[in-house]
């Protein structure tokens, strides 16, 4: 029998926590009066952040799919995945540069360039991801948990360094004034260039008068992400390989006994995850217009959080989580301060892991970690 005063402990703790958030929050820009004031001053901004959040969330969701698929099958956090996405951005930038799409004004040329860049980025990152699995993870598949994890971190460092060297090659990555491999590179804003030269207004919703911008870029990113997600979903649900993947994720040994080639399934998973990361790389480059060798770390942390938020191993969950994290990041950038965004994303991760480790849609997979 609990003593009576125990009934008041939980509410007391809750009040204390709320008080502490109010007291210390403003240091990390979580200043409610300020936020209230800025929402009141410009309510349309809220919709603007919603749009930005959805578009960035779509990119995060696409990357998160790679995390969640790999985790579902071999229960490994592929630390290098965020960096594979970064390589995707650079592959796209290099392809666009080599096809001459960065300097031309011909919309057809740019459109074809973007399409080629999408294919090249997908192919390259898919191959890279599969190669990472082959080199760093396969031989450690039956080793204790720590070994592949450390190997994955090492791979992440290696891929980051490849990005750094890549960014330093002026004949691969046009510098637009910034020099050195360490600097953030500009990824030209090609999409609005196409639509301007076709005579269309790239701002679909600029006429609202409140400064709301809903551009072709936002629309394209969200649509492309939707297509990829639906495609993946259909693939996993209906094809033979997709079924084999689900079977392997459920029980690797049983799947093996039923004649599924585990190595092939795992390679396919890494190929698909890597390809999605490459597509996300092109989308992010076109949408956010920059390329940086270290961008994979941030993106990786955000998308891993998204995967955990949705329930790791769960594909629909990763998509949901991606959009939520994108929104969180956009609102934090907008109403708090971009400096603290990572901290809030990460705080979300800790809170989910503590209070609902299976995520929003997760099954019991989360408990295996």
């Amino acid at each position: 029998m609990k003593p009576t005063y125990m009934r008041f402990i939980r509410p007391l703790i809750a009040i204390l926590v709320i008080y502490l958030v109010l007291l210390i929050g403003p240091i990390a820009s979580l200043d409610f009066p300020n936020i209230y004031a800025s929402i009141k001053a410009n309510p349309v901004q809220l919709i603007q952040f919603l749009i930005i959040g959805l578009a960035n969330g779509a990119i995060v969701a696409i990357i998160a799919l790679g995390y969640t698929m790999v985790y579902g099958i071999i229960e490994l956090i592929n630390f290098a995945h965020g960096d594979v996405y970064m390589i995707g951005v650079f592959t796209a930038l290099t392809t666009l540069s080599l096809t001459g799409s960065l300097t031309t004004t011909d919309p057809g040329h740019i459109a074809i360039g973007i399409f080629v860049a999408l294919l090249v980025a997908i192919a390259f990152t898919a191959a890279l991801n599969a190669a990472i699995e082959r080199l760093a993870y396969r031989r450690l598949r039956n080793a204790p948990r720590l070994a592949p994890l450390i190997s994955a971190i090492g791979m992440s460092f290696i891929v980051e360094n490849i990005g750094l060297i890549w960014a330093a090659q002026s004949w691969l990555v046009p510098s637009f004034g910034t020099t050195g491999g360490g600097a953030q590179k500009e990824f030209p804003d090609l999409l609005s260039r196409i639509f301007v030269s076709l005579g269309w207004d790239p701002n679909l919703l600029a006429s609202t008068g409140w400064g709301l911008r809903f551009t072709v870029k936002d629309l394209l990113v969200i649509v492309l992400a939707g297509v990829l997600m639906i495609g993946l979903r259909l693939f996993i649900q209906n094809t033979r390989l997709g079924k084999a993947m689900r079977a392997t994720a459920q029980n690797r040994d049983a799947a093996k006994m039923l004649g599924i080639d585990i190595d092939r399934v795992i390679t396919a998973t890494f190929l698909i995850g890597g390809g999605l990361a490459g597509a996300a790389g092109l989308m992010a480059g076109l949408y956010n217009n920059n390329a940086w060798w270290f961008m994979g770390f941030r993106a990786g942390l955000q998308s891993f959080t998204a995967a955990v938020l949705g329930g790791i191993g769960n594909i629909t969950g990763a998509m949901l989580g991606g959009f939520l994290i994108g929104l969180l990041a956009a609102f934090s950038d907008g109403y708090l301060n971009a400096r603290w965004t990572n901290m809030w994303v990460f705080a979300t991760l800790v809170l989910i892991l503590l209070f609902r480790p299976t995520g929003l849609l997760g099954e019991q997979v989360g408990q295996k970690a």
Binding site: A143, P148, I150, F157
Partner: protein, 531 residues
């Protein structure tokens, strides 16, 4: 080839690489050093019953062969590479003297230290300890005398040795993969910075601050460790990674801290204004526009330690710093050894092997893991305090994710769970990073400028590309990443695995039978929890 000759030659070639980079007097220092290393690693290959003299005689030829490598490399460096790289070769007299000292030192130390194995185990141990102690004491003076100027970089390596020792408690002993260990390093350094600098006009004595820093790091170890306790394996890794990412961000951004008490400032006035009343409450302001950490400008200058006879430690004289950090390392090694053998240490290892079974045996996992986190953090607090005082200025970018990974590299390379291994790993990784890579860069730059680039005049594109990419510093992360991946693939137990790990390895070999997928007993023995 006999294994003892092979091992001596391999060690000699590694030493030869360093001589190749530095030339000049480095051959003497490296000769003595490599001699001792060969002696330490080869001793157990000989039969103890042969006695000192006979082992000495057996070991002598191996040492002589290795010394030949040194002479060859040294001459090659001085008369072929140095002119090609545009460096001025050392005069013949210095070369002769340096080579004489180096070769004699190598042969003598290699044979004598090997021969120590012929004594009784007790005397062998005492002999080795005396030898190591003499070497450590003499090193900075020789370094200064020969003008190599390695000591200040070796001090950095030793800072990372302490960090590695601390992380080894968390990862090696308790099997908790901590990817944000640099956060505690940052906390130790910033505690020192804030408490002994003009930033807040607080000037506490270093000898007090170092304990405060360690204590602060330990407390934060508890605070950051607590939320990760329910998590296992990869989730723990990613959460600690997040902490490691967040803490430097916090230090970077605490430059304009304003804390207003919320109740008096806007909750009660807000409620009052809802009812149309005007508030007469006075807003309590705890801090306004307080610059706590100076952001990216960094806190500087930070107070230096001082001792009665030496006076203040100066930045241009690394010798007192060297002995201070050696002292901290000795203290840390002593404490960690005691911890390792204590009830707590055994509990850590039990948790590492099987948390569930350990809990069933009456070990409290929560307490044990928290102790690992806070004990591990304590040592990085020491390291942080020393670092802050030594550099006399701290900047948030030093403590980012890559620092955590470098410390992890130190532990993984040396051998998870083994104190000596971590010391060796730290020395290898950090001297490679701070001494050999820059030296290689200088050498390459020299070679480029005087020999290679003029030869490529005909192809300007190639010339540009070569000039741009021939910078080994650019491949730093690649080397760290490769260290982790290759170690995990080939030798997950590290260079010097601990005795338990080695024993487990053999037990696994007997049981394992056919090995699937190329993984096997070697990787089973890595000190990983069966999460």
């Amino acid at each position: 080839m006999k294994p003892e000759l092979k091992s001596a030659l391999i060690t000699g070639m590694l030493g030869g690489l360093v001589v190749f980079l530095f030339g000049g007097w480095s051959v003497s220092v490296l000769g003595i050093l490599i001699g001792i290393v060969i002696g330490l690693s080869n001793g157990s290959r000989y039969n103890r019953n042969d006695g000192f003299i006979r082992i000495f005689k057996q070991a002598l030829p191996n040492a002589l062969w290795t010394a030949l490598i040194f002479i060859a490399v040294s001459l090659l460096e001085n008369y072929v590479v140095a002119p090609a790289a545009g460096k001025r070769p050392s005069p013949f007299g210095i070369m002769l003297a340096a080579n004489l000292v180096g070769t004699l030192g190598l042969v003598l130390f290699a044979s004598v230290v090997t021969a120590l194995h012929g004594l009784t185990p007790r005397w062998e141990r005492i002999g080795k300890i005396i030898l190591l102690a003499v070497m450590v004491v003499v090193f900075p003076f020789i370094d200064e005398w020969t003008g190599l100027r390695w000591t200040s970089n070796v001090i950095f390596a030793l800072i990372f040795v302490i960090l590695g020792l601390g992380l080894n408690i968390v990862v090696g002993f308790a099997g908790l993969l901590d990817l944000g260990y640099a956060a505690f390093f940052a906390i130790g350094a910033y505690t020192t910075g804030i408490l002994s600098s003009p930033q807040h006009d607080i000037y506490l004595n270093f000898w007090l601050v170092i304990w405060l820093a360690a204590g602060m790091a330990a407390i934060w170890g508890l605070i950051l460790g607590a939320p990760t306790l329910p998590l296992r394996g990869d989730y723990l890794a990613i959460v600690t990674l997040g902490f490691g990412e967040i803490i430097p961000v916090i230090f970077k951004n605490l430059i304009d801290v304003t804390i207003k008490e919320p109740l008096t400032c806007w909750v009660i006035p807000g409620i009052q204004s809802l009812f149309g009343a005007t508030s007469n409450l006075k807003c309590i302001v705890l801090a306004e526009h307080l610059d706590l950490t100076a952001g990216e400008r960094g806190i500087k200058p930070i107070g230096r330690p001082s001792l009665p006879i030496i006076g203040d430690f100066q930045s241009d004289n690394p010798i007192p710093w060297f002995f201070l950090i050696i002292g901290i390392i000795l203290l840390s090694v002593f404490l960690i050894r005691r911890m390792h053998d204590s009830r707590l240490g055994r509990a850590w290892m039990a948790i590492r092997e099987d948390e569930l079974a350990a809990a069933q045996m009456g070990i409290d996992p929560v307490r044990t893991k928290l102790a690992a986190f806070s004990m591990g953090a304590t040592f990085s607090g020491f390291a942080g305090a020393f670092y802050a005082a030594y550099i006399a200025g701290i900047f948030p970018s030093v403590f980012d994710f890559s620092a955590s990974i470098i410390i992890l590299c130190v532990v993984v390379l040396g051998g998870l769970g083994n104190i000596n291994g971590v010391i060796v790993g730290g020395l290898i990784i950090m001297t490679a990073d701070r001494l050999f890579l820059p030296a290689l860069k200088d050498l390459l730059t020299g070679l480029m400028r005087t020999t290679i680039l003029p030869g490529l005049e005909a192809w300007p594109g190639v010339q540009d590309a070569v000039a741009q990419n021939a910078n080994p510093i650019l491949y730093r992360f690649l080397l760290f990443g490769l260290t982790l991946v290759i170690m995990m693939a080939i030798r997950p137990e590290g260079l010097l695995p601990s005795a338990e790990v080695r024993a487990e390895l053999h037990a696994a070999e007997e049981q394992a039978g056919p090995i699937e997928n190329g993984s096997g007993p070697a990787s089973d023995s890595a000190a990983g929890g069966k999460a």
